[in-house]
Structure formats: C-alpha cells, structure tokens
C-alpha cells in the first residue's frame, strides 16, 4: 500500500483472473469434483415435428450402470412446472413448455427423456437402448409460410403460429412518406446464429435430503435469476436453493437463460439425493438445444428528402421465436424497435413486429440482442439513401446526426440518449482510416479491375440494462464491500462475469478507493449463497450498473470507517478525518485501513451506535440506460473471379464513456467485432425444409478463426454521461452491433459497379460470385 502509487483505474492492468486460467487450474462446471457423482445423458428428438407414439425405456432402465430414467410423466407426477418465459407480451399466446416433451416433439434436439447412470459412458450407451416410435408431421420452418393459413401448427392448442404482435410508432408517418423526395425499400434477413460459447452448457445438481438444500452448479450468466426461477418451477422455497455459476466459459447471451436441463438435473438430484448428478452438453447438443440468436426477417422502408435527410422509417418484421418462448425471447426484437432510429434525427417511425413459432430451437438474446438488427437496418438504409442520391454515405450520416449540443437527445422511438458526439467519433474514425485516400485508392483499383469497397457504420447502442422499469426481474445491481479484520478487502458483486474481467476492473476500483494494493482485493461473484442478491451479467451492464453499485458501497464503507477513525483518533467528526492512500489522518495521528478494520471487528472501543465490523452493501438503480456509440470503417477486397471477401482493414472508434481498463475494453471491442464478422461472412443456423439442423456441428457452422480476422485499428472518444457517477457506459456488445453493417456496406460498395444495392448475410463467396455474374461486365 503506498500513497504515491499511480491509480489502477485507467491503466492496462493485467487480469487477476488469468493465473488460474493460463495454468489450467480454474474450475468450470465440468471440472468440479464430486464423490458418488452420477451422470446424465438426455434422449432427444431427431424429428422437427412429430407425435410421440410410444417410448420404450425398459432396456435402458435395465442397462448396466443405469440408476434412473425419467420422462415427462415423472415430472407431471412431481408437479414440476414449465420452463418459464419471463418476458410475455400483451396478448401473447404462450404454449406450455414442459422440460421433457409431452405428446409431441417440436424441434430437433428437444429433450424427451433423461437417463442417469454411474458413468457418463454408461449413460450415453443407454440412450441407444431407448426405442421409440414417432409419427412425423410436417414442420413449420419458413417464417412467412408459418404465418400463412394452412401451415402446420407448432402448438395446435394455440390455433396459430402467431405468438404476438407489437408496435412502436411516433410521428405522422403517412404524411412523411407522401411528401418525401425519395422512398427506399429493402427486404433484409437477419439470419439465425448459434452463439457457441467455447464452453458448452452444463450443470451439476445435488440435493441434501437432511438439510433440504438443493444446489445447482450451472454455467450461467444469471445465478440469482436461475435460483428464483428454479425454486418456482420445483415448488421449493427460494432459500432452500443455491445456484452457483463457477468459472463460466463464455455466454454471449446463450447463458442468459433458464433451461429445461437445469430443471431436469434438479429433479433428478431430488430423486437421487444426496448423490449429485451431472450433465454436460456435447457440442452437438449445444448446437441443437441452446438458444439461437437473431432470426429476424424484415422489410425496411425509409423516406428521405432530396438532401438525404431521413424523414421517416417504417419497419415490418417477423421474429422467429422457435418452438417455445425461452426466458426473454419476445422482448429481444422490441429492442430492435427502440433502437431503430440509430444515431439519427428521424421525424417519424413505426415498427410492426410479429413473433412466430416454428419447429426450431428457440431464439433469445445473443450478443447485441435486438440492437444489431436495428443498427443493421438503419445503417443499410443510410447507404441505400446515399446510393440513391449519389451522395457520399459519410455525408448522409453527417447530415442526419444530432449535434453534440442536442443531448440529452430524445429519439423517435421515445428513448432519451444520455450523451453523445457522433460527428466527433465518425471524424476520428475517418481520419484514422484515411477515408479520402481510401476513396481515391478505390477509384484506381476499379480502373485495374479490382473490387475494393469501403463501408462505414455509425452505431448507438442501448447499454447498462437498465432501469428496473425496463426489465422483468429488475435492472439494478448490488455490491458488498467487506473489509476483513486483517484489512484485506472482499468485494461481492451481483454481476456474474464470465470472461469480461470484472474481477480485475472491480478490484482496480476498490484498490484505488481504499488505497490498497490490487492483490489485497478479492472480487467474488456467482454464488447465491455467498453474494447478496444480484441480477447478473448481460446487456453491457456489469460495470455501468454493478461497478456503480460497488462505487457507492465503497463510499459507504469509507464513510463508516471514518466515523470509527474519528472516534479512535479523537477527531470531532468523521468529516474531520482525512483518508488517502489507505491511511486515515486526523489530529496529526494516523490509522491504517488494516488497523481500523481490526478495531472495527474487535470492537473494544466503538463510537456510540456504531455497528461492529466494517462492511457495506449498496444496490444501485440506474435512472436511465446508457447509449455508447461509435463509427467503424471497413475496407474489403472482393475477388471478382470467386466472390471471396477479404477484409483489408478495419478501423473502430468507440465511445463507451470512461474506461477503467483499456486492455479489457480493447478485448471486448475485438471480440465483439469478430462475432459480427462471423455473422457477416460465415455464420448461419440452417434448417432444411423438414426442420433438420443442417449446421449442427463445427463441421458445417464456421466460427471465425485467427486467419479470418484482420488486425483491428481501434481508438476511442470519451463523452461523459451523468447516468452513473463512474461515467462508464458499457462496451460488451459494441463491436457486435457496429461491425456487421460496416462489413456489409463495404462489400455492397465493392459490388457497386455491378448494380448491387444489398446482399443478405452471410456473405458466402458463392452468393457474391452470383451477384457479379448477374451484374455482367463492369
């Protein structure tokens, strides 16, 4: 501890998480060791849509090592509830979602039965002994066909595949479209994606009958919410359920959910307790039965004046919900509606959304969650306007940005953007990219017959989710700061980081605040038995909301410490006590934090009314979302002979407010861009007409590899926000939101000589090649 040291905040501090991870000593769910562990294998549907005629489990039950087999009848008998959806829309038709299929299977991979055995090998072997008879039905796969009369119904009892309709609108759109100089229309597909965190889902459950205590170790982003949901489904008191998110190997929204398997494992644990039961998804299971992302089909229409000013936007879209509405699914596309105006002053807007059930895995939040769809629509639309009016797309953006002085800025969709300077971020990105020079290079490349394209995307995203009014289970976050008797600092956060690095950035905050060394601080998270209630990590909220809670808790604990210091140092009041570099000063005397912590715990001499101990908890309720923004510039070269797209350069200027640790922010930006790059170039969850998942393994679903990625050139602007006292906005999803349109705009720009206005993602080389063929010689 040294008073003179540089603050940790703002520095590229190496992560405190890493020593365990780089030595292979961390504990993901599958790494936890248990005595008497039982293993679960799940029998899944190989049909997209079929009636279950019979299911014969006798051979599986009597197989070597098999301990238990359950079907939906067992769940019904035990009165186990449905897999819940926490984001039901007004008037939504919601089907029963049993954790195991009853009567019918509705997607490939739907759980039908669970087998427990003494080893994972025995459990897997027993799956092959299950004989069943299915009566296959036609599947509802295509979104538009699923809404058409006569479509096979995913849930007959609902009488339709249409789950809900939702709209958001403002302004006189009809008048705007009537008076506009130009109206642009484009059908745009935002394809289904498969999140693929490198650690597949998995969980271990153990029930101790004596203690009547259930513990679920699960790879999740939201342990507290899982606990609440699990207790409700099982009919257990919440305080008899403990949920632990141990080391979590990536989530990206896929683990911002509550799954049938988490219920099943808990049910099995209660049948077999005290023996623990484990299930770890194979990658194939993770592909088939972990939520997918995106899956939105839409028609975007824009009305612009002759100078390229955007007057109005109309967007009609269909959201593919899959077979069942998972935890937050219906709410995801509503974020698209809220963010549809993007960075622009738009007079009028309307989005009409229809949610549809299909015989596919459910969709739900995937990195960006509804916002990439919005950004993609508006950023494609801006380029269409530029193309139509023969204006530079950069100029069209500039003409439509609100000025920095117009913030807080109220959008056409009813949001209030906290702060921003879109022009500054764009100008910085253009300068970094050398935009004018790139345009010149593009011209000379075209003369040589080379297809160079430059794409720009300006985005704004909604982060720091969020005010509790906006989230079903609350949008606040909590932190506890506990100064141990030795003066070591324990931080308990309700956020549940899984790669983002808050063990480090929160320790930076705490160490600076308390004047300790970084090593003196431990940040704990993810265990409902250890951490006070929390909401979790998603929606780029952990630092902006959870970090702010921590900041307040630190303030509280220091305030308390000062009261004791005043008492011990003989100062008149806490206000008369100075605190710097971990030392309390008053009356020319000093006390270290450690000395004070010891005194607070030993409690030999305390001021009147002072509670022994030294800890504080704070729950922070944000007053608004934050709205980070930025501009990305992408340069591509398209091989005119093969349609192959090569990203030549990629420049990103992001404004995520104040940066606690630039190293971590860079990492988030890079990773986010590459997930967008994956969507733009390769990734697509493909179901065939019969509802079979064609891209069911890494053999057919391509994640970007190192050689697919360019070296990213990143920079930042920093516009303060008053939404939280730290001034942080969030950065976890920025890259994913900003990058897809930059890449697609660049490719469309490269193909401009062939008259191409739009290409749907992913930009498979064959698709590009065909456009070049169709466009003829250019």
């Amino acid at each position: 501890m040294s008073a003179a040291r540089e603050p940790y905040v703002g520095r590229r501090v190496k992560r405190t998480e890493d020593p365990r991870l780089i030595r292979g000593l961390a504990h993901y769910v599958d790494d936890l060791r248990f005595a008497d562990l039982l293993h679960v294998s799940i029998v899944r549907s190989m049909y997209a849509h079929a009636r279950i005629v019979s299911l014969d489990l006798a051979a599986a039950r009597s197989a070597a090592g098999v301990v238990d087999v359950v079907t939906v009848e067992d769940l019904d008998r035990a009165r186990i509830g449905d897999v819940p959806c926490a984001a039901s829309m007004a008037g939504m038709k919601t089907p029963a979602h049993r954790p195991l299929a009853r009567g019918k299977v509705r997607f490939v991979g739907e759980p039908v039965a669970a087998i427990v055995a003494t080893s994972a090998y025995a459990a897997r072997d027993a799956v092959d002994l299950v004989s069943f008879e299915f009566d296959p039905l036609d599947a509802a796969v295509d979104l538009e066909k699923a809404l058409a009369p006569g479509s096979p119904l995913v849930h007959e009892e609902l009488g339709t595949n249409k789950a809900f309709e939702w709209s958001v609108a403002s302004g006189d759109l009809d008048a705007v479209f009537k008076s506009a100089a130009k109206v642009l229309t484009q059908r745009i597909v935002h394809q289904r994606l498969i999140p693929c965190p490198m650690e597949p889902r998995g969980c271990v459950a153990q029930y101790l009958p004596g203690e009547r205590q259930l513990t679920l170790w699960t790879s999740t982003q939201i342990p507290h919410l899982v606990r609440t949901a699990l207790a409700a489904v099982l009919g257990l008191a919440e305080n008899r359920v403990r949920v632990v998110a141990p080391e979590v190997g990536g989530g990206f929204g896929a683990k911002l959910n509550f799954y049938a398997e988490e219920i099943l494992l808990s049910v099995l644990a209660m049948r077999l307790g005290p023996r623990p039961v484990k299930w770890i998804a194979t990658r194939r299971e993770d592909f088939a039965a972990t939520i997918h992302g995106r899956g939105q089909l839409g028609m975007i229409e824009g009305a612009a004046d002759a100078e390229g000013r955007l007057l109005g936007i109309r967007y009609r879209s269909i959201q593919d919900l899959g077979a069942y509405p998972q935890l937050l699914a219906p709410a995801i596309p509503t974020l698209t509606g809220l963010m549809l105006p993007g960075c622009y002053k738009v007079g009028a807007m309307r989005m009409d959304l229809t949610g549809v059930y299909t015989n596919k895995m459910s969709t739900d939040a995937y990195r960006g969650a509804g916002r990439p769809e919005a950004t993609y629509q508006i950023e494609r639309l801006i380029d269409l306007v530029a193309d139509e009016l023969k204006l530079d797309p950069v100029e069209v953006r500039r003409r439509n940005f609100p000025a920095a002085s117009e913030f807080p800025f109220k959008t056409a969709s009813g949001l209030t953007y906290d702060s921003g300077d879109y022009r500054r971020a764009m100008d910085k990105a253009l300068a970094l990219a050398g935009y004018e020079k790139l345009r010149a290079e593009q011209q000379s490349a075209r003369l040589e017959g080379r297809l160079l394209g430059v794409g720009v995307s300006s985005y704004v995203e909604i982060c720091a989710l969020g005010p509790s009014a906006a989230l079903a289970a609350g949008g606040w976050e909590s932190a506890t700061v506990r100064i141990e008797p030795s003066g070591k600092v324990t931080v308990l956060t309700g956020a549940s980081p899984h790669g983002q690095g808050q063990e480090t950035s929160f320790a930076q905050l705490a160490a600076d605040f308390l004047g300790t060394d970084l090593d003196d601080v431990i940040v704990k998270h993810g265990d409902t038995a250890e951490v006070q209630y929390g909401i979790g990590t998603f929606g780029s909220r952990a630092t902006a909301v959870g970090g702010t809670a921590l900041w307040h808790a630190l303030g509280r604990v220091v305030e308390k410490a000062k009261r004791l210091a005043a008492h011990l140092l003989g100062a008149a009041s806490a206000e008369a006590v100075g605190f710097e570099g971990g030392v309390f000063v008053a009356n020319g005397k000093t006390l270290t934090l450690a000395e004070l912590a010891t005194a607070a715990h030993h409690a030999k001499s305390l001021p009147e009314g002072f509670e022994p101990g030294l800890q504080a908890t704070y729950a922070f309720e944000p007053k608004n979302f934050t709205f980070p923004f930025g501009t990305h510039v992408c340069v591509v070269e398209v091989d005119r002979n093969t349609g192959d797209v090569r990203i030549v350069r990629y420049v990103a200027v992001d404004d995520c407010g104040r940066v606690l640790n630039p190293l971590l922010v860079d990492g988030q930006v890079h990773g986010g861009i590459v997930q967008a790059l994956g969507q733009a170039l390769f990734e697509e969850a493909v179901y065939d007409e019969g509802g079979q998942l064609v891209t069911g393994t890494f053999m057919d679903y391509a994640l970007p590899r190192a050689h697919d990625c360019p070296r990213f050139e990143t920079d930042r602007t920093e516009t303060p926000t008053d939404v939280n006292p730290l001034g942080v906005k969030g950065v976890g999803e920025a890259g994913t939101i900003g990058a897809t349109p930059a890449i697609v705009n660049a490719v469309v720009d490269a193909l401009e000589p062939f008259g191409v206005r739009h290409v749907d993602m992913p930009l498979r080389p064959e698709k590009i090649w065909r456009l070049i063929q169709a466009g003829g010689k250019a």
Binding site: R23, G249, G499, H670, F698
Partner: protein
Amino acid sequence: MKLAVTVNEKAHEHEVEPRLLLVHYLREVLGLTGTHVGCETTLCGACTVLLDGVPVKACTVLAIQADGAKVVTIEGLEKDGVLDAMQQGFWECHGLQCGFCTPGMILAARDLLDRNPHPTEDQVRGGLDGNLCRCTGYQHIVDAVLHAAKKRGASAAPAPSPAATAAPGAGRHA
C-alpha cells in the same frame, strides 16, 4: 487394457476401456481438468495436449494409443513456480477472456514457436488454425504469441525444423 503413460513427467498405470478417449483419461482418471472439451469433431482445439512432444487433439486420440507415450498438459507447463513464456505472454497481452480455449491455445502456440521461432503475424494466425476462440477476436492472442517469441528469442530457443520458415499460409483460399 493396461495403459502406462507419463503425464507431466509423472508415470501412471491404469486399466482402461479401449474406447476411453485420452481427454477423458486425463480429466476423469488423472483429474487434470485443465484440458477442456469444446467440441466432438476435432475442430475447436480446446483439448490440445502434447503427445510425445507434438500437439494433438486429445478428444480424437484413444487413451490406449498413448500407451508408452509422454503427455504434457497445460498443468505441466509451469516449472518450479515459473510460468512458461507462452503463459506469460497470454497474461501480459490479455490473450484470454473466458479462458476455456486458453490451455489448448497456449499448447498449440508453443509448438508453433518451437517450429518457427520468429513468425510473422500472418504465420501466427495461420498456425493457430486448429484452435477456436469465441471471446478475444484473436488479436490479443496473436500479440501474446509474438510477445512470447520475443521473450524466447532473448533466451535459447530450440532449433527450427526445416519446414518452419515455410509454414503454410492458411487462408481459406490458397
């Protein structure tokens, strides 16, 4: 069947089923859980270990095929409390986020430098073709490998193999 194998310089003997995968032997029998299972199609590289000195995907090797061999897992890299240069590089350069791919990534990257001590950035990217990362966007991983190369260059580096300087450009197109 009887399996005798040396893992991280320690000799082990076990009776194993022929079908037992090496990755399961390491994780479940020996308790070395740093080697992760990220897929079942030999594509993600999370289970990469060194088998007789060369990186392999332990999900696609039978334990019995390692009979008589020397295996090194991520747990075996640290020597006397000192991190391997590649581990150090990953830490210094923020070459990991969730950490799940990291053990395999580190072992593959070490081998890359063993064969080519002074790779270009493109060679590093191509050389990591067998390992998927969903978090980092790879840039900091590439930095970590280049960092380790520099660190290793400062000390004695193993001799490059003849093919090293011609490591294949591994773009999707030739």
